[in-house]
Symmetry: C2
Subunit: 334 residues, 2 copies
């Protein structure tokens, strides 16, 4: 690790991989070399990076020699199969999947919130669930100020969270709706065009989905707040790439909308968009393509004591995935 | 009122008007005559009813002679201007607008919940807000069983709630998205295609929208539960005609998912769709065109004591508007 890092992207041809490549082009990351890895389905492909064509290599157990940082974004089973090998070969793994997030020795990091946890890593640092990151970007600064006791949430999740195929599925189904041709669901369990569905990931025995349980467990771990009470309903909506979350939070201390505004406006990585009189509040179209998450619709909660209701949007592929992973890599470089 | 009712529909050419006409065709309502009323913009139009062409008459203060029941569905300002005249001419007004809902002497009725309130009417019976009706169809039976203390909700509202023009706007914008042509928002404050927006109706000083405050106030009135604590975030989604609501409810009594299932399955007008193992839960596409609301995703709430989290869908134009209004009319006939 002399002048910079040799970085490998596992899942380079996916939706998050594409964003990682673009972010590495844009940001001043100390990059020494870039290796693009994908499954054998992408064999023969090449991707542009700063004007150069970089061939996509087929992922194998021999892929990680001389790699300093391996950014995994190819699903939990690929992470489980290859992450240990990457570590054995000397790389630090930043894993975008859910594979290791809840393992006690694996830091689960949103750099604006708990970057100091990175130091305890033993080779793997996990990138949290996208909806959790986006919600916590507004919840955490309020927690620091008022002391979070309880949070109830409902999400409006873009199809990008299910990958490039899901993005195509929304496109195809929407067009088919008007042409009258059938377009059966393949990625999602039901039609997503002009529909919403209260299922993201698989169901667990307690009636919650895995996505919903991730929000609860990951929020507790990231904020070092094991006593937090939380419940969310995760819903897929026909939006391409930014997630939204409606949040109702109860705090230990008395709250005010004014103080909440102050605290949120100052938080790094968050933009306060809260001027309802001018119809200004976050929407997924407004948040798409932006590094910052957006928060608005902040009001005293009419159902909770010391409560605030608010609304957060964030680009699922950026802060919800690629950007957060790269920020972790950048923190490693410091 | 010998053998049946002379019914007038105010707003006959609108989205709800069309549903009222269809429901009157389908249901065994004791109909003696049907008068279709709309603004002068619809002058010269005629609408089919049971094979006959009925001319659309221009609404005036002389429209209500010999009308027994006037179904108003043309917005609050029209109701305010014409309802008193209809009553003076001997009609009973069933008003779908928000104009009179919170007036103490006006019954606000969901027939499955508080049909006995109808008897106290003094000429006007109000039809509640669509999101409120659909949410209460599941909340109320749970309230009767467990005693509702607090409810936190987030809605996923179809464009039909904003009328026929809004339905066209979603269509046009969605097509324009793929053709690359611009399609500026006209009905909604922002683009609705492939977007969601946390604004339904106008904003009030407390940061809530009118729609959100309606949910709180109307829920209390309909369920005769003035102490209910409630908060909702109302969100428009790119769905054509059924609303969805994610609900987290806290009760006085201990709850169980099994008892909730029993109670909900038995409630008239509600269908239990709750088999996540088979990916069966309500969605707006599943609920569209159906008279019954649907409830599913019922689970013990992980954030509230004695809490249940669940998900309700209902056709906004049917149970959320036209069907509920006609059920009130049917109750008057009994």
């Amino acid at each position: 690790m002399s002048t910079g890092f040799h970085v490998a992207i596992v899942g380079a041809t996916g939706a998050v991989g594409a964003e990682l490549i673009q972010l590495l082009e844009q940001r001043e990351f100390p990059l020494e070399g870039l290796k693009l890895l994908a499954s054998s389905k992408s064999a023969g492909k090449a991707l542009k990076f700063r004007g150069e064509e970089i061939p996509v290599e087929t992922l194998s157990h021999h892929s990680f020699k001389a790699v300093d940082i391996a950014l995994f974004s190819a699903g939990a089973s690929i992470s489980r199969e290859y992450a240990r090998q990457a570590i054995a070969d000397g790389a630090i793994v930043i894993d975008n999947s859910s594979a290791f997030r809840m393992e006690p020795e694996v830091p689960l990091v949103v750099p604006e919130i708990n970057s100091s946890d990175i130091r305890q890593h033993r080779g793997i640092i996990s990138n949290p669930n996208c909806t959790t990151i986006i919600a916590l970007m507004a919840l955490y600064p309020l927690h620091v100020t008022f002391g979070l006791k309880r949070v109830i949430a409902a999400s409006y999740q873009a199809v990008s969270g299910a990958g490039a195929k899901a993005i195509r599925e929304l496109s195809l189904q929407s067009k088919a709706f008007f042409s009258g041709e059938p377009a059966a669901p393949e990625v999602f369990p039901h039609a997503i065009a002009f529909n919403v569905m209260p299922q993201v990931d698989v169901f667990l025995d307690n009636g919650y989905t895995k996505e919903e349980v991730k929000f609860v467990n990951e929020s507790r771990k990231i904020m070092h707040h094991p006593a937090l009470r939380a419940s969310i309903t995760c819903v897929r909506v026909p939006v391409f790439r930014a997630h939204s979350v409606a949040l109702n939070a109860e705090f230990e201390q008395p709250v005010s909308v004014e103080r909440a505004h102050d605290v949120l406006a100052k938080f790094q990585g968050l933009e306060l968009v809260d001027d309802p009189g001018s119809k200004r509040y976050p929407t997924p179209l407004l948040a798409a393509g932006k590094n910052n998450c957006q928060v608005g619709r902040i009001r005293a909660d009419s159902a909770l004591d010391n409560g605030l209701a608010f609304w957060v949007c964030g680009d699922q592929l950026l802060k919800g995935a690629a950007l957060n992973a790269l920020q972790i890599a950048e923190a490693l470089g410091k």
